[in-house]
């Protein structure tokens, strides 16, 4: 179903050469899947989100690279990327073995022929992964697995316990003007996410509150459903203090801008709570959107054996739990919830593990969809920009 956007993903590669030749077609899939595990190459280079691969540099307790290097003999070098676009562009440049790609980047890499199929026979722990993540549309295409799930997380509703005497249960608090329990309106005291994918959050809210619209999937909207979502967001614009784009900046805003509520990641909630701020979070009754990251193997990886060793190691429950504790995310392997002292017994609960069934994972909207024709992502972008500008 993503075939139609083949060319678009390629263009996102953004190299100058590609920019000047828009009609370049995809080259044939190269690089056969690894058949059997050989001897390690002694090295491994990984593109990852900040905090995904720690060797105890920030906090000695958080170190899952050193044990891997000792047991495998593969020296790991980490290239931290700041956005999905940067990850795609680094992978296009080449020279890396692995990347921890999010739901949007992963398909670009698959259709851009930048990652290779994974031989699950070489990764015994794959079976321990949450079954719903094993063959998800963002890591599996035509029955072929293009990576190993690493971590996931929900976009939760964060709120100030000063503004809410009782926890909010619905996303309505960020969409509709209302008086909060501290007696003041929510106007100018909420934030929304700046990325156009946030339209899906509005669609999710409408899916539950206006069933007549017939929304089945917040990433697949026809013209009528899409228009309703935009209308909701236009109303929200009047309430928004800022559209947040930087996690640490949002932490600042909740510390000193007197904000009441916002959609956010568990990371910000954990940081603010660690800073003793009156903050809590909830996954509202409507459910939530979320992200799921996959470790993918470059098609021309120079160190495939070390890469496979890492893929297997990355699924060990202890590592899964430690990453979740550091990053504020959730393990792709459920056993990770009990295996990490850093995460603690309640770590998964704190990060909203039980919300899994209520999560609609991030997926790029494309024109072709189950209900026939849907609004594609490039229109989401221009319309959401217009809304933020007050149109």
């Amino acid at each position: 179903m993503f075939r139609s956007t083949n060319r678009q993903w390629m263009l996102l590669g953004s190299s100058l050469w590609m920019m000047l030749s828009p009609l370049q077609v995809a080259s044939a899939q190269s690089g056969a899947m690894l058949g059997a595990l050989g001897k390690g190459e002694g090295q491994l280079s990984v593109i990852a989100w900040a905090g995904y691969l720690e060797r105890g540099a920030s906090d000695k307790a958080y170190d899952w690279l050193t044990p891997f290097e000792k047991q495998s003999g593969c020296k790991v070098s980490v290239k931290v990327a700041g956005s999905s676009d940067e990850m795609v562009s680094l992978m296009n440049q080449g020279g890396y073995d692995l990347v921890t790609a999010s739901g949007d980047a992963s398909l670009r890499l698959v259709y851009g022929n930048k990652v290779q199929q994974i031989n699950l026979g070489l990764i015994p722990s794959y079976a321990k992964i949450n079954p719903k993540l094993q063959s998800a549309p963002w890591n599996t295409v035509d029955g072929k697995h293009y990576g190993v799930p690493y971590q996931w997380g929900p976009n939760v509703l964060m709120y100030s316990t000063k503004a809410f005497k009782t926890p909010p249960t619905s996303w309505a608090v960020v969409f509709k003007e209302q008086t909060l329990s501290d007696g003041k309106s929510n106007k100018g005291r909420i934030q929304a996410y700046y990325g156009p994918i946030y339209i899906a959050d509005a669609a999710l809210y409408l899916m539950k509150t206006q069933p007549a619209l017939g929304i089945k999937n917040p990433y697949e909207l026809n013209e009528v459903q899409y228009k309703a979502a935009l209308e909701l967001l236009r109303g929200q614009r009047k309430l928004v203090q800022r559209y947040w784009n930087d996690a640490n900046a949002q932490v600042q805003d909740f510390t000193n801008e007197g904000l009441a509520a916002s959609p956010t990641w568990p990371f910000q909630v954990n940081t603010l709570q660690a800073n003793k701020q009156p903050i809590a979070s909830v996954v509202p009754v409507e459910g939530a959107t979320g992200w799921a990251d996959t470790t993918m193997l470059h098609v021309d990886a120079k160190h495939p054996n070390c890469a496979y060793k890492w893929l297997e190691y990355s699924l060990s429950p202890r590592v899964q739990g430690d990453v979740a504790a550091w990053f504020g995310s959730l393990p792709a392997v459920p056993a990770g919830c009990q295996a990490s002292a850093l995460l603690g017994k309640d770590g998964c609960k704190t990060n909203n593990y039980e919300a899994f069934d209520k999560i609609y994972f991030w997926k790029t909207p494309v024109a072709k969809c189950a209900q026939g024709a849907c609004v594609p992502y490039n229109r989401w972008v221009s319309d959401y920009i217009a809304i933020q500008g007050g149109r």
Partner: protein, 314 residues
Amino acid sequence: MAAPFLPKPSLQKPAAHGPLLYRRPVLALLLLLVPPLLWLGVLYLGSLLGLLVYSLYSIDDFTGQVGNVLTLDTLKSLFTAPSNVDVIVRTVLMALIVTLACAVIAFPVAYFVAFHTRGPRKALWVLLITLPLWASYLVRVYAWRLILAQEGVISWVTAKLHLSWLLDEVLRLPVLGGPSLSSSYLGMFLVFVYVWLPFMILPIQAALERVPRSLIQASADLGARPAQTFRRVILPLAVPGVAAGSVFTFSLTLGDYIIPGVVGAPGFFIGQMVYTQQGTAGNLPLAAAFSLVPIVIVGVYLALARKAGAFDAL
């Protein structure tokens, strides 16, 4: 290499013997100029041309694919789609106002440094003016976000002075205001002015330094009062400096995409538009079209500034 035979210059024509490059000055010139010309022509003009061409490609609204049909629709949409017009108007207005404010603030400072300091003190002043440029631009912008926050320094000081009502009144202004200074256009304006101010002060100061002191004395000798001298002698001679400074502040504001994302009201600026459209949206034609806007505007602006003599003061 053996030392070349050098003819006596007075006796022989230089073209007859000697090294090739000496005999053919045009060739030497070409060899010297080709690398920079390649740089300018291929890398710079070439990528500009690439942008222009790219803005002509069509994008299929239905599938989001870039097609090979050439169209003017994308460029047209810059001026027909209300939200695109908003982005351009918003950015240009901000750039103009920031430039104006920078000029007004910078002039007295530059005047003071040019006419009332000398020697080590002058050096100290220039140092102080440029000191902010030594720190990272990002650090300064994020610092301002804290200063302007609802519970930041400015709010705190106004509260201590019992002036909170004044701040609230200001924030209630229709376009300028917002929930707090850090999320209003007023706050964004303050940060822009702060960040670009040195780029205005220095050219003005350079222009004022060049005003011949004898002219000022002559003006006084001929009976002009200080205010008259300032208006009729110093100010006209400082105009090229102001124009040069405004080229910096105007074009820097026009292209910036960090500050509008960190402080200020929601609503995109041109730079953010280019970043988003090419980065996440995959709408390269629109991104290319938007990146042409500042080029055109700055081109016009430079032509005007040149008339004002801006490049004499650089």
